[in-house]
Symmetry: D2
Subunit: 375 residues, 4 copies
Amino acid sequence: MKFPTARTRDAFPIYGQLGIHSGPPAKVFRLPEIALEWPVTVPAGVGPVPGAGPRADPLSTEAQEGFRFLKDIGRLLEEATERVRDAVADGKVATYIPELAKADPALVGIAVHTIDGDTHHAGDATVPFTLQSISKVFALAALMRLTGPAAALDGMPCEPSGDSFHSIVRLEEESGHPRNPLINAGAILVSSRLPGANRREMAGVVEGLLASVLGASVGVDDQVYASESATGYRNRALANYMQHFGLLRNAERACEAYFTQCALSLDAVGLARAGLFLANGGSDPISGTRVIDTDSTCSILALMAMCGLYDQVGRFALSVGIPAKSAVSGGILAIVPGRMAIATYGPALGSKGNSVAGMAMLEFLSRELDLSLFR
Amino acid sequence: MKFPTARTRDAFPIYGQLGIHSGPPAKVFRLPEIALEWPVTVPAGVGPVPGAGPRADPLSTEAQEGFRFLKDIGRLLEEATERVRDAVADGKVATYIPELAKADPALVGIAVHTIDGDTHHAGDATVPFTLQSISKVFALAALMRLTGPAAALDGMPCEPSGDSFHSIVRLEEESGHPRNPLINAGAILVSSRLPGANRREMAGVVEGLLASVLGASVGVDDQVYASESATGYRNRALANYMQHFGLLRNAERACEAYFTQCALSLDAVGLARAGLFLANGGSDPISGTRVIDTDSTCSILALMAMCGLYDQVGRFALSVGIPAKSAVSGGILAIVPGRMAIATYGPALGSKGNSVAGMAMLEFLSRELDLSLFR
Amino acid sequence: MKFPTARTRDAFPIYGQLGIHSGPPAKVFRLPEIALEWPVTVPAGVGPVPGAGPRADPLSTEAQEGFRFLKDIGRLLEEATERVRDAVADGKVATYIPELAKADPALVGIAVHTIDGDTHHAGDATVPFTLQSISKVFALAALMRLTGPAAALDGMPCEPSGDSFHSIVRLEEESGHPRNPLINAGAILVSSRLPGANRREMAGVVEGLLASVLGASVGVDDQVYASESATGYRNRALANYMQHFGLLRNAERACEAYFTQCALSLDAVGLARAGLFLANGGSDPISGTRVIDTDSTCSILALMAMCGLYDQVGRFALSVGIPAKSAVSGGILAIVPGRMAIATYGPALGSKGNSVAGMAMLEFLSRELDLSLFR
Amino acid sequence: MKFPTARTRDAFPIYGQLGIHSGPPAKVFRLPEIALEWPVTVPAGVGPVPGAGPRADPLSTEAQEGFRFLKDIGRLLEEATERVRDAVADGKVATYIPELAKADPALVGIAVHTIDGDTHHAGDATVPFTLQSISKVFALAALMRLTGPAAALDGMPCEPSGDSFHSIVRLEEESGHPRNPLINAGAILVSSRLPGANRREMAGVVEGLLASVLGASVGVDDQVYASESATGYRNRALANYMQHFGLLRNAERACEAYFTQCALSLDAVGLARAGLFLANGGSDPISGTRVIDTDSTCSILALMAMCGLYDQVGRFALSVGIPAKSAVSGGILAIVPGRMAIATYGPALGSKGNSVAGMAMLEFLSRELDLSLFR
């Protein structure tokens, strides 16, 4: 079944209410009271380009046949989910946010969306989950849209940290400057720069970007938000530390905005669809909407490649070889530039905080479809 | 002139109003609205012992003559202040709390109080200053009085940190456990354990201990408190980090209590008098009041010796050799067990955050009076 | 002028004797007494494949025209060298190896070699320099050829370190295991695994790989080797530390082999030619020789992308976006998979140890030729 | 039985041959071929002062009775060894030097020597063991005698490290400068400064100091030395690191000298006797020989207090409160200034590398005899 495009926007269901499956009891989602409209202060030239249409030069059908893509993608995704069913027993669901601990570790799902409109999924690809760290990518995109990439990344050297995602050690060594916008400190700094008077308005900017692509609003899982807000003292430490060094002005509000954006909820199908613009130079190939400019897209993909998988980013580069961002909720968003977006879901995490099933499925797909940028 | 003892308590002026000198304009002090009474839940046996009187066996007059103490202490203190007047030019007043930056870097004062009641001072020994980190010693004493030393130190290995006083690196490496109660993280943890519903009540416990010794209430410098509260985000980071690891429950209140106790204000004369019980096994030798038990006293002195001078604690051990605690406001409280308390003041700090004049005067006195525990 | 290929091998001059230019006095090179033959214990299946010829499917001419490659590459290289002439004034030649300090900071050169045989260069592209850290790539390739990629990388998690290239801190935290084979510790570990009874034989394995591609022996700059051996105590510390943890058995020999391989000397033209197999899946497209298998090539490129530019690897990913390895001698080898190898030379280094001119020229070329993997 | 003094020097047996007990098989000791004479280049004024005799003012008999010392010391030592017999089951003998792993973990011994000549011991106080880290104290004393304390400590800030004894992390952060002379790096630096052309001559300087006090030569346990030399690559890493920063010139020789001095062998009775000068201001009270000057002694005691017990130095200050130095061989030398030297032996170590029995016996003795400097 073809994924809904902008042309069928009206019929598109609201994300977060989709989660109908036989697994854990459906969560109750509350529509956020956040601004759904995209802020109007977009710099000239990077705003929506109505009617721009899909990129003029996607890979030729001939080239894609070289990847034997079209003929067997559906079968491959099924095979991918089957292969990892056993492996998930080695992982454990995240517990540091109490609400996440309720996820079913046996869930495994994957979805693919190509830039010329094909979409496939297998397994539990319609089970919604909170974006958590994957939201960092969309928050950064939203900020870049508003300020351009240079201002969005100001004060961050954009280097891999070599430490775990929540480490505060580097902040001390480097005068409060986060290594990059995809570790927690950097992501909180990005969130602090989003416009808005409160957490809902600030996270609403991220939701607005997602909604503009998906053609539907995206819900916030209030239980997960509340759970993270009640326990997120390590992140508050990071934010206060940055405030000490003058990088932000309101540590508490920045954290709250960050916690809210982390609780935005999608399923794998929706996530692959939402991230598709990243595979297409910043322009959504289905609706033709330009989300961000090409330079911003290129920067985000480079950052995902260098810093997107916590401290397994190197192993992922060797075994998969494409830009990706993982989340402790069990999701991974992976981008093959010029070709496709892939989203995986599997809440059983390995010791480094990445989805066991997601890592394995992406490695399998990369081999089968020759996706690595280094091959 | 003899320092007022408990017997002249009524005539004892309120600290913080004493600051009459020709230096910087006198600050306006506001009496704290904190509870002056000592909490009544003191464990049996460690409470005040009215009429206990001075320790039965202070060092004999003969022994003290061996230190040529009585005859020339006044002259020595004058000499000490004279010798360091030039050295202060090398130091700089602390600026990280904006209000502290207003101190006059040329100020130099010293006061000595012996356990048998002699007291002398020289230089700017009646200029009030906020206790800052020196308050950590009295907060720890107050907590030990209420809970005993083991509970007060619970969760802290009581080792020197090897890092600067505000470092957060060790907290991460050691799961949120501060190395000792005299670095900022540990002191905030101590403050969080003081009874009270708000910062005033909690800091009031520390003030109560000081007042019980001094026979007069001790003021809080509200401007310094407000200045630190408005800028103390590094300390808030430490507190939130500890809350993440479950060591405390209300990071914000703990910080506020800590900032308030840090703004308690005394001059060198009063500080030496207040710390005298630490030189006398925990019992104030003038009033005969037992402040804390001997084990607590011994623990506090050991901690001061190991962790009291930031990252110059080793140099201080070699050159001075007695337990001491310094503060970024420029004060140092030094204790010679069984003999005396010494307080120095000199807001010009060296690169490690210790008073240049204070360090030099204590080194001079230690040599002249043979005070080192290692000699 | 076309670069000599395997078909003109006989006429190919010996590298290290090429350095005829008007700059600093020509160094005296001594041909190493190391084994030039490639070790015969190559695993079956990965050895040379005579007559294999260039990869069957290089990018089509049509595609390359899309990059407007063929028409103006020569002009672009000239423009690149011109643009950076001023920038080199901001850099400084490396001084930690005394011999390197003699390099002329004004030198700037660049060479490109495409997988279908075109080659161009501009500026000081025929000035020889020692490979230093770039040799890590060829040593790793040589080891992978002998043992396969898994064994070659054994004991190394292959993650970016987040620290500077010579840091020993991570070794302590991680029980002697280097983060990856491109930081010094990892590279010494790789060298320790090369077969041979002494430094000359071990470095000879690396030289053998280079010679098999270049069709000529590669000299060792004995003065640079001697200079590094006389001063390389930080590297010896790393090696002894790894020996403590049992990762290698002869720290001194490993260091000596490493110092020798670092002193292998090429010019930019030769370096681009030598690295061309990395752009062609492990097979040299000119001679048709298979150097290493495709998996090894993919791993090496991923490692270069993640760890090849010291602590500017992130910035390089954003601004250039291709796998590369830099050296303190001023060289950079950059690989565009499926398209070309680029070598730059410019001994003036920025504060992070990378060639100022090289970084700038690669950024310029990447923009002009649309080389980034993330675009 | 009174311990032999200088007056019975001729009859004094050679240490290392004393170890006659029913425990593990006696080791074979070889007399070192090192120079036994004390170097003659002693600075004027700090050399031996023949006939100086014991310090004029040891604590009066009256004062010592206050400590109820004389009457029951023998019984107390017996009680101390009895009390800890069970506790040693919690510890483990050091294994990082293979030869040390052969020690009997059940051994427990203690010896006390007062500055007025009384000596007592209990348990396995005549079982010889290698001094290991305790030798750092005597090497530092020997160097201070030759160069004065300032030159001996040059380049070391003399601060506690906060890290474990063999950590290399601080060396990197602080440009190769060891925190203090009692961690491994600092001790190797001290050893590197001892005069001598090889390890035997350099370690001979330390032996010479011990011999001059004990009136007998001290043997080197060659098996332990060989074992440490064959495995001491972590220490070699430290030494090479310091050589990189120019702090020493011959890392290998410095390590070998250090390994040799570490293998000097004494029993607890001899160790207490050898360290007695440290309790007496630098002059041996039995023979009247001045070993080092008072300033050097004071510095050494301060360093022992701040850095002598690895990362339990703070706990030891709180529970025992006197300067001490421990060793992984299971020995501890503790000094009560002006009163006595105490040596304990118990090769079962706790997790921090200190003797379980030794720590417990010293805590017991400190309580019973009121030894803490902070009491």
